[in-house]
């Protein structure tokens, strides 16, 4: 399989296949379908290099990110999504959200 991410972040390829998702809806659904061990591992691995990943993306203008950098940004977005489950709720679902649903129907790209 060819690389999804810039070579500098090759260590996250295993997560990239799973978590490089362009929309919040997909990221939220992936979180709901994931277990805490999976998400904990991704969270732990990526935490150390989040800042570096942001810096890396910011070498490019936001509207001209190369494809692999766009995927790195998607991975960061997913990391934000996962952090809610890991840091706050300790479960995929929002605590006390019952069966409430809120779909994101519009978002800036990337």
């Amino acid at each position: 399989m060819s690389a999804l991410l810039p070579a500098e972040f090759a260590e996250f390829e295993e997560y990239a296949a799973h978590w490089c998702l362009p929309t919040e809806t997909e990221r939220f659904e992936r979180r709901m379908a994931s277990d805490m061990d999976e998400m904990g591992a991704f969270y732990a691995a990526f935490s150390a290099r989040l800042d570096e990943a942001i810096e890396f993306c910011d070498k490019y203008p936001l509207d001209e990110l190369p494809e692999d950098v766009q995927r790195l940004l998607q991975l960061i977005h997913s990391y934000v999504m996962v952090s809610m489950a890991v840091e706050i709720f300790h479960q995929p679902k929002v605590v006390d959200s019952a069966d409430a649903v809120l779909r994101r129907v519009k978002e800036p790209r990337p």
Partner: protein, 419 residues
């Protein structure tokens, strides 16, 4: 105990606004017949916000809006003359829905030079005029000039597009908004165009969800997991109070004090908030919006957190001290269901770091809102059961009282008016 925020001279906000202090009934939220009266007395008379001008970037841009509360669907379009107009989304030939995409009950948007009905290819200009009838000779005494799309009153204020279903509106849009709202003129809504939009269907009366977002009394309790411990303690000590309330006509406002919780000790913060510099209160790096109009933070709170302007009947503009804003819309679909729309608006991010802080803020907004929406259905069912008829409201819940009062007043005053 922290010092409490001063109350108005009457001793409470509730009395200050001349509102009753007794327990309230939610009979207005559980009755199909009351809902019918609300539709006539409120939604067919008031100016309703249906979107923003940025959704119509150029001549020919349009969007549709399903307005079950008005029993109609509309199409809002920017004409060749740059005017924005609203029309009932129905072909004059056989009553078919004119503009739709995949599914006729879903809203859509796009760009076109004219509207063409899918059925018999009647065509309408962007100004609503009927321009083409297929096989016109087969009709009898048909006068195209009499068969344009049926328009709805449409006015724009500060980039917000409003419609009014009344045959003749009782107020211009600016009159309807009144001085408390129009004092927001000059706020850079037109620059805050990076939008995160959310939507859901809620099985509860529209006012009950408005109520849930109309007070901050619940915040440190329901959202305790997300609130920093220190904030929860501080808020509890302060009595969960908001420093400033205002009502004017049917509209209302609450401002909150700004707890800059990123200035708290690190133990209060989640790692992600530190890393992304964003969260509950928005991006930590305050957007530079220049000088703000006088209508913002009218209570001159310092520190200032946010203003929640609740525009009657169903529209909320929530302006954050950090330089961004939210809107909420509550669109009734029946007496016990509605569609909720939430939109988060930021300055367009100029780099990934800013984008991530926005993402963090938007994601956090959603997780909060999911908790706020959680028990609405159960609340609706319990209210409908009717075993309890009256419920107490405290002074921090004064805006709920005002909403239900205004709704009741409008419905009562309209009674007997011919439709």
């Amino acid at each position: 105990m922290s010092p409490r925020y001063p109350k108005p001279p009457e001793g409470s906000w509730t009395e200050h606004f001349g509102l009753d202090t007794g327990p309230v009934s939610y009979a207005d939220s559980i009755s199909p017949s009351f809902y019918e009266r609300e539709r006539q007395a409120i939604f067919r008379r008031a100016w309703l916000n249906v979107g923003r001008v940025e959704q119509l970037p150029k001549a020919g841009s349009y969007f549709t809006k399903e307005l079950a509360v008005l029993n109609t669907s509309i199409v809002v379009v920017r004409g060749m003359d740059d005017e924005i107009r609203a029309f009932h989304n129905v072909c004059r030939h056989r009553g078919n829905k004119l503009v739709w995409n995949e599914s006729p009950d879903e809203e859509t948007q796009g760009f076109c030079r004219q509207f063409t009905c899918k059925y018999h290819a009647w065509r309408y200009g962007l100004d609503g005029s009927l321009t083409f009838i297929q096989q016109e000779d087969e009709f009898f005494d048909v006068d195209k000039s009499q068969l344009g799309l049926v328009s709805m009153h449409c006015e724009v204020w500060e980039g917000f597009v409003f419609v009014c279903a009344a045959r003749e509106p009782e107020w211009s849009l600016r009159e309807f908004l009144g001085p408390m709202i129009t004092a927001l003129e000059g706020y850079p809504f037109d620059r805050l165009t990076s939008r995160f939009g959310y939507r859901t269907e809620v099985r509860a009366n529209w006012k009950l969800f408005m109520d849930a977002f109309a007070e901050f009394y619940h915040a440190p309790v329901l959202h305790s997991k997300q609130s920093p411990d220190k904030y929860a303690v501080a808020a509890r000590e302060a009595g969960y109070e908001a420093p400033y309330y205002a009502v004017e006509g049917p509209h209302r406002l609450v401002s909150t004090s700004g707890v800059r919780f990123w200035e708290m000790d690190p133990g209060s913060l989640k790692p992600m908030e530190v890393m992304t510099r964003g969260g509950l209160f928005g991006p930590w790096d305050k957007a530079d919006l220049g000088e703000l109009p006088a209508g913002v933070n009218p209570g001159r709170c310092k520190p200032w957190g946010l203003d929640s302007f609740q525009l009657f009947p169903n529209f909320v503009i929530l302006i954050w001290g950090q330089g961004w804003y939210l809107t909420y819309h509550y669109w009734p679909t029946s007496y016990n269901t509605h569609v909720f729309e939430g939109n988060v608006y930021f300055l367009p991010a100029t780099n990934v770091r800013e984008r991530i802080a926005q993402e963090m803020s938007a994601v956090t907004f959603k997780e909060f809102a999911l908790q706020d929406a959680n028990t609405l259905e159960a609340t609706q069912l319990m209210l409908e059961s009717g075993y309890v008829e009256k419920f107490p409201l405290n002074d921090q819940e004064v805006l709920l009282r005002h909403l239900h009062k205004v709704v009741g007043d409008w419905v009562e005053q309209h009674a007997g008016v011919p439709a």
